[in-house]
């Protein structure tokens, strides 16, 4: 059971994450989009979306700090265990709350605004369930376990387990010792990662940082494919067809 949950499931999720993205990037450029719903409704979105996204970015930063950076490193720069916990719990709670506030607004909007609700696909709904579960259990861990029950030093179990997966020296036993709420959080996030490439979450990987440096106006040549293209006047038979581009149009007519 331990091997299954904390060794095989993570690697399956990572594989799905990586292979899924490569597959989608190569075969579905047209579907790779935020599919923003701001056109339908702007007021609530302008409130909820920045809260959610910036909160989530901060949460992500916190995870990198807590999981990727070993405790020995923070010790080395002179941050004590209790000091680290103070920082991580306070900052984590703050960014988590911002994120939750945004998520609540966005969910409210998605449910109450008809056009937005109707534009929600099945995979969107699954994604929302996992997202809510991931953020919910995460908040439970940060606020509930750390604050109310006293510190839990996840940097002795969860973090080394996670790093072990990447250094190819996995220790599934470490995770088995962690409290249930941490285990559930890890599993939900793994499920979300596995689903990631098949949802509109892919837009995370198009964060357009290149915009800061590229020239304002992009010129592109139309290419030489036209040189040899025959054109039939209306009264002539049409030229041999070129392979038609695949046309996809969202969800098609209702």
């Amino acid at each position: 059971m331990t091997t299954w949950l904390w060794l095989i499931v993570p690697y399956v999720a990572f594989t799905s994450f990586v292979v899924g993205h490569i597959w989608r990037y190569r075969h579905d450029q047209f579907g790779w989009t935020t599919r923003s719903s701001q056109l339908y409704e702007s007021r609530l979105l302008r409130l909820g979306s920045p809260l959610f996204h910036f909160g989530l970015l901060a949460v992500l930063g916190g995870h990198v700090l807590g999981i990727a950076v070993p405790a020995s490193w923070t010790d080395a720069v002179g941050i004590s265990e209790s000091g680290y916990h103070l920082i991580s719990v306070s900052m984590g709670t703050l960014s988590g709350l911002v994120c939750v506030a945004g998520l609540v607004i966005l969910l409210y909007r998605r449910i109450t605004v008809t056009a937005v609700r109707q534009a929600t696909t099945r995979v969107d709904k699954l994604m929302y369930v996992l997202l809510v579960a991931a953020i919910g259990t995460g908040m439970l861990n940060t606020v509930g376990v750390n604050l109310l029950q006293g510190d839990y030093n996840y940097r002795a179990t969860v973090s080394p387990w996670f790093r072990g997966l990447f250094t190819l020296s996995p220790e599934p036993g470490l995770m088995a010792k962690a409290p249930t709420s941490f285990q559930v959080h890890a599993l939900v996030v793994l499920a979300l990662l596995a689903l990631w490439p098949y949802t509109r979450l892919v837009h995370v990987f198009s964060a357009p940082l290149g915009y800061l440096t590229r020239p304002y106006v992009v010129y592109r040549s139309r290419g030489d494919h036209l040189a040899a293209r025959p054109y039939a006047r209306a009264w002539e038979p049409p030229p041999p067809a070129r392979p038609a581009p695949i046309v996809r149009m969202g969800r098609g007519p209702r």
């Binding site: 979105l45 915009y211 010129y219 139309r222 149009m249 007519p253």
Partner: protein, 542 residues
């Protein structure tokens, strides 16, 4: 100098009857798909009026186009690149579908399937977005034909800018139609605001397109375009825009809107321009100078140096030939009757308009005057402030002089042609007073009134003949230097309409002198008298 070719359009507003055929055929061709129900790549709006989307010209609100920052550098009105990235999660300046209109259809099914009743079954309006019952309260041309009626007058952002007195005098109602497509700008702010770099300008023909595979749905371009000619497809999550019917023009046939235009008022042709000069022209400090600055970017296709440069730049031979007979060039540069739409947005738009003279003719006729007599018409153009100021807000950033000049040329054409048609003696002085010869006036009349298909649409096909490229290589560059004098269309214009003294207008012996009244501030050639004994009157000496 970086010479490029651009496909451009001119519309003669006097001939638009507001039939919306162009909009409908365009919609059938390009946007009759899910997600684009509310989008009209071509729309026709009544001016004065709110436009589509509502009040899109109010850039204080929508933040479209460019502006000059404190240091005089060109920046997007919606903010720096960094600020735009920070706003990426929720665009504060994005119109929602209500600002366009809620697209709808009718429940026709009910007409056939309703059970027998005492009352006649109705076809209820249904929202095309949610499928639910909806109230129809606005549309893409809801204020059609209302003109400056009392309900509209406060809602047109342009009327808010003309002087108060003009507004008070707004008794003489006037209206005209303004068909609009994407301007395929030389300095497109839509492309500049796209974080993914998915919007590009084609280097061969200047058509601005959205790469559907690279668009990621950040919807910054919708804000960036001051003409609101980028539409967000809410089904696919990608931006879409007018394509200038590139699959058609590539094979030499006109765009759908031009082909089907009932008034035959659209002209398509090639313009050559200097891409390196665009940024400086778009950064011109004073808004009134933007129209002449854009003229200065176009190159004169009759100048052998321009032709040589075009060959060197790899422009195919049939494109160079097309540029020389371009109807668009004639209307914009030779006769100067076409004007750009909102040059103050600094995008250097490439769909230009011949302003309508008819409102003035009608007003004259209604007051019992002969609306086509030269004296009356010229007088009306001078004295009728309302239409002229309004047109100036549309076409020249509020500068009435170029609008008056264009209207005077149209008026001269009307008077002259009336005399010709009635067999009365013509008055060459009328033509001369607007800087044209009677032959030119008649040529302009032919182009504006009776030009055939092949004269209105001069579109070289995109199939590139490689052989031509080879001889172009051998020709090499015979340019004296970048931006050498006399190459730009502006110089041709300046000569023609007495902006300088080089056309024989100066006093004896001072022919190369610059006329300070019209000095464009570009160079100092001719500003100082020639040294005795030399003939260096200036760069423009004949």
């Amino acid at each position: 100098m970086k010479l490029m070719a651009q496909l451009a359009m001119v519309m003669n507003l006097d001939k638009c009857i507001g039939c919306h055929t162009c909009s409908v055929t365009c919609k059938q061709a390009w946007t009759n798909r899910g997600g684009m129900e509310y989008a009209w790549f071509n729309n026709v709006e009544t001016r004065p009026g709110q436009g589509y989307p509502r009040q899109y010209q109010d850039q204080d609100r929508w933040k479209g186009g460019w502006t000059l920052n404190k240091r005089g550098r060109l920046t997007l009105r919606s903010g720096s690149r960094f600020k735009r990235l920070l706003n990426i999660f929720a665009n504060p300046d994005l119109p929602t579908v209500d600002d366009y209109y809620q697209p709808w259809t009718y429940d026709y099914e009910n007409l056939l399937s309703a059970p027998a009743m005492d009352t006649i079954p109705t076809a209820r309006p249904k929202s095309l977005i949610t499928g639910e019952d909806t109230a129809v309260t606005w549309g893409a041309n809801w204020d059609d034909d209302l003109g400056g009626g009392p309900a509209q007058i406060g809602r047109d952002p342009l009327l808010a800018r003309v002087s108060r007195q003009v507004k008070l005098e707004f008794q003489q109602t006037f209206m005209f139609y303004l068909p609009r497509i994407c301007e395929h700008c030389l300095n497109p702010s839509c492309a500049a605001s796209c974080p993914s770099g998915a919007i590009y300008k084609r280097s061969e023909d200047g058509i601005v397109l959205v790469d559907q595979d690279r668009c990621r749905g950040w919807r910054q371009c919708v804000t960036g375009c001051p003409y609101k000619k980028i539409y967000f497809n809410h089904r696919t999550g990608k931006a879409e825009k007018c394509t200038f019917c590139y699959p058609r023009v590539e094979v030499g046939i006109p765009t759908v809107c031009s082909e089907t235009c009932v008034g035959r008022l659209r002209y398509l042709g090639v313009l050559l321009y200097d891409a390196d000069a665009v940024l400086a022209a778009a950064s011109t400090p004073h808004e009134h100078d933007l129209y002449p600055a854009q003229l200065g970017v176009f190159l004169n296709p009759h100048d052998p140096r321009v032709v040589a440069e075009a060959e060197r730049a790899g422009v195919p031979g049939d494109w160079i030939e097309a540029a020389a007979v371009s109807p668009v060039y004639r209307l914009i540069v030779d006769y100067q009757v076409a004007l750009p739409l909102h040059p103050e947005y600094r995008t250097m738009p490439m769909v230009w308009y011949v302003p309508p003279l008819s409102p003035m003719v009608d007003a004259l006729t209604q007051t019992g005057h002969d609306g086509e007599a030269a004296g009356n018409l010229f007088g009306a153009i001078e004295s009728m402030r309302i239409p002229v100021e309004y047109l100036a807000e549309l076409f020249t950033a509020g500068d009435v002089a170029p609008v008056r000049a264009a209207l005077r040329r149209l008026a001269a054409m009307r008077t002259h042609m009336r005399a010709v048609n009635l067999g009365e003696p013509t008055q060459p002085a009328v033509a001369a007073s607007v800087g044209l010869s009677t032959r030119e006036i008649e040529a302009m009349y032919r182009l504006l009134a009776i030009a055939k298909y092949e004269e209105r649409y001069v579109i070289p096909s995109a199939a590139v003949s490689q052989a031509h490229r080879l001889d172009a290589l051998a020709t090499g560059c015979s340019l004296n230097g970048d931006g050498g004098p006399g190459m730009t269309a502006f110089d041709a214009v300046a000569e023609k309409f007495h902006l300088t003294d080089t056309n024989g207008a100066g006093p004896n012996g001072k022919n190369g002198r610059i006329n300070l009244l019209n000095w464009d501030g570009r160079n100092i050639d001719g500003l100082f008298p020639a040294r005795a004994g030399t003939n260096e009157g200036g760069g423009r000496a004949e």
